[in-house]
Symmetry: C2
Subunit: 152 residues, 2 copies
DNA sequence: ACCTTCCGTGGACGCGATCGACCTCAACCT
DNA sequence: AGGTTGAGGTCGATCGCGTCCACGGAAGGT
């Protein structure tokens, strides 16, 4: 993980579809060298994948909610997690310090669907209570933070 | 936005580096047709970009926090937003219904940096108070929800 | 029926991806 | 010091992909 690797990570974080040739030009190496570096970053787990960034409204997911979960005392956290994992509307899941064991970010199409999701969450074994906040708008999300020092 | 478009969106959401030729095979069209469709999805704003998914720990961002913000009464929300936007550690920013106007997701390297961030947040004009929760682990994040019906 | 528009296909051509051979340098061993 | 080894690079060649263009057929309007 030298400066060139960090540079590649930054470039791919801003545009994951850059060609190896273009990446090579940007970092000042040959295309095969970049190809090998990126391959190593992938197999070492630094680069976990490449995702298109999609406007949620455009695919019918206009409602965003953030939901805190309080577990039952003695609940099996792994079981709870497995149940959450089966709900595709839960985009993100953080295990938190504090009274609320989990914080979930969910996206659904309508408030009615959100209601159904909350009902399902409250019914899943191990969940004591939920507290949901509705996002009126997403100002930004997953903004890539440059990790390599600016080129000066 | 027909079924093929949704299919393309799903494919790119799972792997943004798929070649047009490969996409074409998967959806049963020719490469130029896919090229044109993807181009239109980009210019129409459905596809906002393509991002590498990076393991945060690997780039020195091991601490994740979720921070609720209460605004001063009479604060200028746009100014507050602009201030947040200048803080690169804030990865996501949601404008919320409820007492807390914003919910921020921030990533930093150390608890000390988190402390500094919170201090800065509390100092920014328009912010009345903050409430931060620390994520002990990220179970998953930005899981792509398939948007097109399964191929059956 | 005709025209127009949209959306696709097929062919062509230049560039990119990717493999293998070779080079360079630094670290380490003897 | 000299030799060996391995990591990480360049170069060149080959093959497939990206992308442009001309053409074709279906749907819909007049």
């Amino acid at each position: 993980m030298d400066a060139i690797d960090l540079n590649l990570v930054d470039l791919l974080r801003t545009n994951a579809r850059l060609s190896y040739a273009e990446l090579a030009r940007q970092v000042g190496l040959s295309a095969p060298a970049v190809h090998e570096r990126v391959g190593k970053l992938e197999t070492s787990g630094v680069l976990r994948g490449y995702r298109a960034d999609v406007e949620p409204e455009a695919v019918g997911l206009g409602v965003t909610a953030l939901i805190g979960i309080v577990e039952d005392s003695g609940a099996d956290t792994d079981d709870v997690l497995a149940a959450f994992r089966k709900m595709p509307e839960i985009e993100s899941c953080y295990f938190m310090a504090g009274v609320e064991s989990f914080l979930l970010k969910a996206r659904v199409g309508t408030i009615a669907e959100l209601e159904q999701l909350i009902v399902r969450l409250n019914r899943t074994p191990g969940v004591a209570s939920t507290r949901t906040g509705i996002a009126l708008s997403t100002k930004w999300e997953n903004r890539p933070r440059p990790v390599s020092p600016p080129a000066a």
